[in-house]
């Protein structure tokens, strides 16, 4: 009886100790309570241990203590291990919206690391270690015709030559069922890794969304508008005076706007004109989107023609036309949308959402047009015919080797033919993989170059030309650039969508990891050195789930083409694991 009561008292004290940090008491009071409770627990735990099972009880108590200590140490260790923690803390002084972009970048980096681990460890390494080495079978060797130029830098940069015939691309993999001494089933693992990548990405995004929804409370609830502005608008992370001044200005503007809006929400003037202007703006945007889609389709078709003519006859621009056009469109169209949205006269937060939605549609349209144009190139009928022709050629060629005698049981002495001399079948999967890789690289290059020119060069010009220029460069045009959080986040999301082409090029996650790594450092440096804090700070608040939702949509839409091609187009006979 009494023992029970005592046990309960001890448990209560333990719970109190655990809850102490959440109590709003001053430290002295907490320390006193802690020490008292700890003494009590120690004294009576000894007493409770009397009688049967005393040793076991004491042991259990000691293990619990050790476990708690271990947990605490592990938490400390985990925080020490998080990459870039110090860097992000420095950026947090700029305000939490810029920091939120870098937190997102770090999370993406984590996902890509895992995807990289999967593809590298389960597909690339086994093939490299246990599969037939380079040069042993035809599909793994550079054809004799191309051998001369296979090592040229220009060819390698384009991912042709030796890079094409390596573990980086789909075409290298053999269709043997099991390889090496481990009897590792490569084709099965290739397929499963592909499926696993997609499944993992979905799972991670959905889990994040669920967690956000839990913590974030109600998303767009407008019922406490003014109170929230009052109580939660200050960002306590701000540590430098410039950002603080900007924040003051933006809070004041936001108060004044909100008050005005409250008063004007009764008024109703000129709604027809506004509606007409908005419809006009949307129509213009649709025209832009259609125009850019057509441009991409046209350019991809042209590049097909160029390849047929032989690539050496054309200039560098014509060879890389597709990628350049896509990147340039991605750079200039958002600006165009910005200008058009001036017609619409929305509240800034709503305008931002429209802008993001349109940029999203632009990127999506571009990606899909690109994929459709590619699929046109892999036109099934012409592929079949080409395959038939090549198969016929191979039999003729083999026949010529055996001097016209094809023995019945095929145990004639194998004539050693160098694999490079065997005629090769077409391999559209590697071509698709190559196109994706080129797209990602040019996208990365464009981002970095825009960063350097748009931010760094601009800052340098403004700073130094200001002394000898007629108007104040720092206050008016062009002034220093702001860090565009939403644009950058969208870029990251689309980047991830493109990685889903990884089924045809196992090297894509590796490339992406590299790219994100470099981006982190480059953009951190750019933010701290050339950017000024944003003037209108729009907390990407309920938008947390907005971005996650976009990511989910992109993942889904980019796995669609891959699934479609797997299901409808038969794989090349001379290429890859299937």
């Amino acid at each position: 009886e009494e023992l029970e009561k005592l046990k309960e008292a001890v448990e209560d004290r333990k719970k109190l100790i655990q809850g102490l940090r959440g109590k709003p008491w001053p430290m002295k009071q907490k320390l006193v309570t802690l020490r008292e409770s700890q003494e009590f627990v120690e004294k009576y735990e000894g007493a409770l241990g009397k009688g049967k099972g005393r040793k076991f009880y004491a042991y259990k108590v000691m293990m619990t203590k050790k476990w708690m200590k271990f947990q605490r140490d592990f938490e400390n260790f985990k925080t020490a291990c998080i990459p870039w923690e110090m860097k992000i803390k420095e950026i947090e002084h700029f305000g939490s919206s810029v920091a939120s972009y870098f937190l997102f970048l770090r999370w993406m980096y984590g996902i890509n690391m895992i995807l990289f681990g999967l593809t590298f460890g389960l597909v690339m390494v086994p093939e490299a270690l246990m599969g037939r080495p380079y040069g042993s079978i035809p599909r793994k060797t550079v054809p004799r015709a191309e051998e001369g130029s296979a090592m040229d830098f220009a060819v390698l940069w384009d991912f042709g030559g030796y890079a094409q015939y390596s573990v980086l691309f789909y075409g290298f993999y053999n269709n043997q069922r099991a390889i090496g001494w481990l009897k590792y089933r490569l084709p099965l693992s290739y397929f499963l890794v592909g499926v696993g990548t997609v499944a993992y990405s979905y799972m991670v995004v959905i889990r994040r969304m669920a967690r956000n929804a839990n913590e974030g409370g109600v998303g767009d609830d407008n019922s406490f508008n003014f109170s929230w502005k009052m109580f939660t608008s200050w960002d306590y992370l701000i540590g430098n005076p410039e950002t603080a001044d900007n924040k003051f200005a933006s809070i004041t503007t936001s108060f004044k706007e909100a008050i005005l809006e409250e008063q004007e929400s009764r008024k109703d003037d000129n709604i027809h004109l506004t509606r007409f202007l908005r419809v006009l703006a949307n129509f213009l945007v649709l025209c832009c989107l259609a125009g850019s889609g057509y441009l991409i389709y046209f350019v991809v078709r042209r590049s097909q023609k160029f390849t047929l003519d032989g690539l050496e006859n054309h200039s560098w621009w014509e060879r890389n036309e597709v990628n350049m056009v896509m990147s340039l469109l991605g750079m200039f169209c958002p600006m165009l949308f910005d200008v058009i949205s001036a017609l619409e006269n929305y509240h800034p937060r709503v305008a931002l959402q429209w802008q993001l939605g349109r940029i999203f549609a632009l990127f999506l349209g571009n990606l899909y047009t690109f994929i459709i144009a590619l699929m046109d190139e892999i036109n099934v009928k012409s592929q079949r015919e080409e395959e038939k022709i090549v198969k016929y050629n191979i039999t003729m060629w083999e026949g010529s080797l055996y001097n016209g005698t094809l023995s019945e049981n095929n145990t004639a002495a194998p004539i050693t033919v160098h694999p490079a001399d065997v005629p090769r079948g077409p391999c559209w999967e590697t071509m698709v993989g190559q196109e994706f890789v080129r797209l990602i690289i040019s996208d990365t290059m464009t981002t970095y170059i825009t960063l350097l020119i748009g931010d760094f060069l601009r800052a340098v010009l403004v700073r130094f030309l200001n002394y000898c220029w007629c108007w104040d460069l720092e206050a008016g045009f062009p002034s220093y650039s702001e860090f565009d959080v939403s644009g950058n986040v969208l870029g990251l999301i689309f980047n991830q969508g493109m990685i889903m082409g990884a089924f045809y090029a196992p090297c894509l996650p590796a490339l992406n990891v590299l790219r994100l790594h470099v981006s982190m450092y480059l953009q951190c440096w750019a933010v701290m050195c050339c950017n000024v804090p944003q003037e209108r700070v729009f907390k990407a608040s309920g938008s947390n789930n907005f971005y996650m939702a976009m990511l989910l949509v992109i993942l889904f839409l980019s796995t669609l083409p891959a699934i479609y091609t797997i299901v409808s187009i038969p794989p090349s006979f001379d290429c890859g694991p299937f």
Binding site: E75, N76, G217, G219, S223, T232, S233, E262
Partner: protein, 189 residues
């Protein structure tokens, strides 16, 4: 008992870890930054109190419009002068840390906004609050008309029992629905 010898004892360190939301590295960093504010002779005195002016030289607090209120709320000094010992400083960092709960943040936020320390937010408190938020210069302040309108709107939204003031539970009710609060109510060294 308190510390400000040049090293934190291992036992004290683990007690602080138990009683705050901070990790070991954060506590050690806080100790380092706190000791940097001390002069040479003060470094050996245990339980030393640092005055308000010196605390406000920390860059994390310097640009904050509520810096004086924050120090007053966390100070345990009998003179009510806003001076902080190291343990008060740890309390401050713990309430503003990433892992602190919504309850503790909203509790302290309420006390910070309560300028006259009477346990409720009346319209005077709200007015001072708005003036803090809109900055020091004249061009950023609101006109009296706008101020009146704003405070009426706020009381309409948050004052549930219509007594003209916002008490702790009404405040917590409003704040807990906000998606921004936990992420913006953060200070990191």
């Amino acid at each position: 008992m308190g510390t400000t010898a040049s090293q934190l004892g291992k036992d004290t360190l683990s007690e602080y870890q138990e009683l705050t939301f901070l990790t070991k590295q954060e506590i050690l960093l806080a100790h380092k930054r706190f000791s940097e504010l001390l002069t040479k002779d003060e470094k050996d005195i245990p339980n030393i109190r640092i005055s308000l002016e010196r605390i406000l030289t920390l860059p994390e607090l310097k640009s904050n419009p509520f810096r004086k209120r924050i120090c007053h709320v966390f100070s345990t000094s009998e003179h009510k002068d806003g001076s902080l010992t190291f343990e008060d400083f740890l309390d401050l960092l713990s309430a503003f840390s990433d892992s602190a709960t919504m309850e503790i943040k909203s509790h302290y936020a309420f006390r910070i906004f309560d300028f006259d320390d009477d346990g409720t937010l009346d319209s005077d408190d709200l007015q001072k609050l708005v003036n803090c938020l809109t900055g020091e210069t004249d061009e950023t302040r609101l006109t009296p008309e706008e101020m009146r309108q704003l405070i009426t709107n706020i009381l309409e939204e948050s004052d549930i029992d219509k007594d003209g003031t916002v008490n702790l539970s009404e405040f917590q009710h409003v704040i807990s629905r906000s998606p921004d609060f936990v992420s913006s109510f953060k200070i990191v060294l």
